[in-house]
């Protein structure tokens, strides 16, 4: 990038809010995934500069410059995702939203809050709780991730079962387009439609404001833990609980593999059986009824309730799925959303990977509606052993494939899963996204080289067949170690 553009950018945000230092650029060249440098060689991941706008207006002015010079712009929240959504592919400018972190408006009567997109979920929750309010659902990464980040990456997590995905909780958003226009888009807007901006990973513009529905702090909550031995029993039980009239706030499965890894972390002690964690929250009456119906199901099925202390500890630990990472030292994982009736075969096949690849695996599954389950299959790896690590990375693809082969969908695209974009959105929706992309980002500067198709630094697209081939070669290479 020309120095002149850096200079012009610094005139917009001020010198204190732009950095071209080597350290800052390295730290903004990646997300939470441990990606070996061998793989990033294909891409220009090092940004030219990192810039921190403080308002939508500044973002718009930045875009007017970058669209003219055709400089890629990569929006960044907390960088806590791992599919490469914030990893630069063709260098450019990283737009760090860290300074857009405030609550703008709050309506206690209307039960909505308008926030800047860079606000961290935990900070938002803490501020709302002071006023006796809280959000509807939260990402499992709530202690670090931002509102804008979750809106852009799918928005499925804790509370989704009761309140739906993030898209159902948004009243309106403010988006700055790559040409520098500031759009106010509400759920009733028809051109463009708001839903096209949800989960499209910063391809259509930068979300700078979000108006979210909120709720009163629940009057009561009730946590339950249940041990379930077999996967078939587990799937049937989860299905039945998900269909309860009093919908649980959260229904989570920690499979036997995960419980055994957790046990290893604490030097044994916990049973290595499937564990189901259920939480009800809401009015006292609603919660009591929910708990009673739930206990009825447990009793009818002859299941064993866990120690209450364990259930409460696991609920406290709900944002800490990566605890077991210490055993790795690297923790990898694959995500997919599957139909609930496929839970049993999916869990079985994921367990098969453990044998196939001689690794230790554990699966956390969130029931996100009465029909769908979000699967997060975690496994241990060791980034320090470079060659073996690349083959271990390939297991992620196997996990996603298991989901897809059972009627599931990918959860997130980013850079690494660009081959699945059609599977995630469907042909029709993807066409809508594409045509809006053409309209809003004709120069193709918005988070380029990913999502629609992974594109290497040389401008050569990684074709799905090629991508699969590379991954297969890597899997084969593994056998020779």
């Amino acid at each position: 990038m020309e120095n002149t553009i850096t200079k012009q950018l610094s005139e917009i945000v001020g010198e204190q809010d732009i950095s071209t230092s080597p350290l800052e650029r390295i730290l903004n060249s990646h997300d939470a995934a441990p990606v070996p440098s061998l793989l990033t060689l294909f891409f220009k991941t090092m940004p030219e500069a990192v810039i921190r706008p403080e308002s939508a207006d500044e973002v718009a002015r930045i875009f007017r410059l970058t669209s003219e010079s055709k400089t890629p712009v990569i929006p960044r929240g907390a960088g806590s995702w791992s599919l490469g959504g914030v990893t630069p592919v063709k260098s450019g400018v990283v737009l760090d939203l860290v300074k857009l972190n405030k609550i703008i408006n709050l309506s206690i009567d209307g039960l909505w809050v308008e926030v800047e997109a860079g606000i961290v979920w935990q900070d938002l929750i803490d501020q709302l709780l002071e006023k006796g309010l809280t959000v509807l659902s939260v990402p499992t990464s709530a202690p670090s991730s931002t509102v804008g980040g979750w809106v852009s990456t799918g928005g499925c997590g804790i509370g989704t079962l009761k309140y739906g995905r993030i898209g159902e909780q948004i009243e309106a958003i403010e988006v700055v387009t790559p040409q520098g226009d500031i759009l106010q888009v509400s759920k009733d807007s028809t051109d463009p439609k708001m839903e096209l901006f949800i989960g499209t990973e910063g391809q259509l513009g930068v979300i700078t404001k979000v108006k979210l529905k909120i709720r009163k702090k629940p009057e009561k909550s009730s946590v339950h833990g249940v041990w379930v031995a077999g996967d078939k029993e587990l799937a049937e039980f989860a299905s039945e609980v998900a269909r309860l009239k009093e919908i649980p706030y959260s229904l989570k499965i920690l499979d036997a593999g995960l419980m055994s890894l957790k046990s290893a972390l604490h030097n044994g002690g916990t049973e290595a059986k499937n564990f189901v964690l259920v939480e009800f929250e809401g009015s006292a009456d609603e919660v009591s009824r929910g708990a009673a119906s739930f206990n009825q199901i447990v009793k009818q099925r002859g299941l064993q309730a866990s120690d209450q202390k364990l259930a409460e500890e696991e609920w406290e630990e709900r944002y800490y799925a990566m605890r077991i990472g210490r055993l790795g030292p690297t923790l990898l994982g694959g995500e997919t959303i599957i139909p609930i009736e496929q839970l049993e075969p999916v869990l079985k096949e994921i367990k098969g990977l453990q044998k196939k690849y001689h690794t230790k695996m554990g699966t956390e599954a969130h029931v996100v509606s009465n029909g769908w389950v979000m699967i997060l299959a975690l496994y241990l790896a060791d980034e320090r052993k470079a060659i073996r690590f690349i083959t271990q990375l390939a297991i992620i693809r196997d996990i996603v494939h298991i989901g897809l082969s059972h009627g599931g969908k990918p959860y997130g695209i980013g850079l690494w899963d660009a081959v699945y974009v059609k599977r995630q959105f469907g042909k029709e929706r993807l066409n809508e996204i594409r045509s809006l992309k053409k309209k809003l980002d004709p120069a193709g500067i918005m988070n380029p080289g990913k999502f629609f198709m992974a594109e290497t630094r040389f401008g050569i697209p990684l074709h799905p067949i090629l991508y699969n081939m590379v991954m297969n070669v890597l899997s084969i290479a593994r056998r020779f170690q």
């Binding site: 921190r52 960088g79 990464s141 944002y319 990566m322 990472g325 030292p329």
Partner: protein, 390 residues
């Protein structure tokens, strides 16, 4: 590149154990002020991982900005509290600071502090004989105690001993001990810096002579119980000395608030001067998160007649740092003050008129920030506060 200090403290694997989840970013008091990824704990770990990945034979200069960021840290270890994989962040920061020292990359303030402590046995490069300067007004009560054989020793600490503005802390301590009828000794000029500033930069070897001297001296005076107002001294004696000296030091180490809590429970302290006041308690990092003391100071404060204790939203293990630790106050005073102001504003928000702490550095830091930023709140060490009720 090789980073031997990470091996020495057994944390070489931690940069890989870090999941880059970013929980530390949200709570880091420095990140909140600075806002650049390089100031976040996970950012620092990522850079270290990249250095280590280059292999042991590869040497290259360490990034200057990284050196700055390593010292832009108050060692509050709130990062450790929220860490997914429970990384021992204190050890990581100690090791990295020590490594930078070995490479001659310490900021001059750090080098100066280290030299003062090692050569003059105190933080301020003062003649160590002047350690009792704080007792000027109460000579009669203090001087006879110096080098006396007693079961209890009062370890004053450099900050209280040499900082005239807070001489009220040791004075109040003497009043409380007197009122409770405790027989105690003071080391006086034979009290050497506990080594806390050296531990803050991982210079354990430099601290050895100090630790040996202090423990030997205490043993000579037949001391069984050591009490101190200083959170840094407390942490040094409690956590670092046993590791450094290869085992139990044979002396019970108590923070003064713990000792006062015991005196209250034994009925040895009578509070004759009630005062209606609403206060909040600031958990110092080195007393709370580092050493797990949360209850005794609260017990003391709520035992005082007329005192109403209100909590800040961030309390106990989620307490926010005052910005005064980790030598941050010396290396980056403006940043340090900004952090203090943020904490004081939280205290004011509770409706309390006074904030009490159990760390002399917090007390000094918050008083200065309150004055500089014109924030209206009384700042006290627990000894000063308790003494008002005698």
């Amino acid at each position: 590149m090789d980073i031997p200090e990470l091996k020495r403290l057994d944390v070489e694997i931690e940069p890989w154990v870090c999941t880059q989840c970013g929980n530390c970013r949200t709570v880091c008091p420095v990140f909140k002020q600075v806002g650049w990824e390089s100031a976040s704990p996970r950012g620092k770990l990522y850079y270290v991982k990249k250095l280590l990945e280059k292999g042991p034979s590869k040497q290259e200069p360490i990034d200057e900005e990284f050196v700055k960021r390593i010292f832009q840290c108050s060692l509050c270890v709130r990062c450790e509290e929220v860490c997914q994989t429970k990384i021992d962040m204190m050890k990581v920061w100690q090791a990295l600071r020590a490594e930078l020292g070995n490479r001659g990359l310490w900021p001059k303030e750090v080098q100066g502090t280290r030299d003062a402590v090692v050569s003059k046995y105190n933080l301020f490069s003062m003649p160590n004989e002047r350690r009792t300067v704080w007792a000027m007004m109460i000579k009669d009560r203090v001087l006879p105690r110096i080098n006396k054989v007693a079961e209890v020793a009062y370890f004053v600490g450099c900050v209280s001993a040499f900082t005239g503005r807070i001489s009220g802390i040791p004075e109040s301590t003497v009043s409380i001990l007197g009122s409770a009828g405790v027989d105690y000794t003071i080391l006086g000029p034979d009290e050497w810096c506990c080594g806390s500033p050296l531990f803050a930069v991982g210079a354990h070897a430099d601290a050895l002579a100090l630790a040996q001297h202090n423990v030997e001296k205490l043993h000579q005076l037949k001391v069984k119980k050591l009490i101190t107002n200083c959170a840094g001294c407390y942490r040094a004696f409690k956590k670092e000395y046993p590791k450094l000296l290869g085992g139990d030091i044979g002396i019970e180490v108590l923070h003064f608030s713990q000792f006062v809590s015991q005196l209250i429970d034994k009925g040895q302290l009578k509070f004759n001067r009630p005062k209606e006041v609403t206060i909040t308690y600031h958990d110092p990092c080195e007393i709370g998160r580092h050493c797990g003391i949360y209850d005794e100071p609260r017990h003391v404060l709520t035992s005082l007649p007329g005192v109403k204790l209100v909590e800040m939203p961030n309390n106990r293990n989620n307490s926010e740092c005052c910005g005064g630790g980790g030598l941050l106050k010396a290396t980056y005073p403006d940043l340090s003050q900004a952090i203090a102001a943020s904490r004081i504003n939280q205290a004011i928000h509770t409706g309390a008129t006074d904030i009490v702490s159990t760390c002399v550095a917090c007390r000094l830091q918050m008083s200065e920030a309150a004055r500089a930023k014109n924030l209206n709140i009384g700042v006290h060490d627990i000894a000063e506060f308790v003494a008002q009720f005698l």
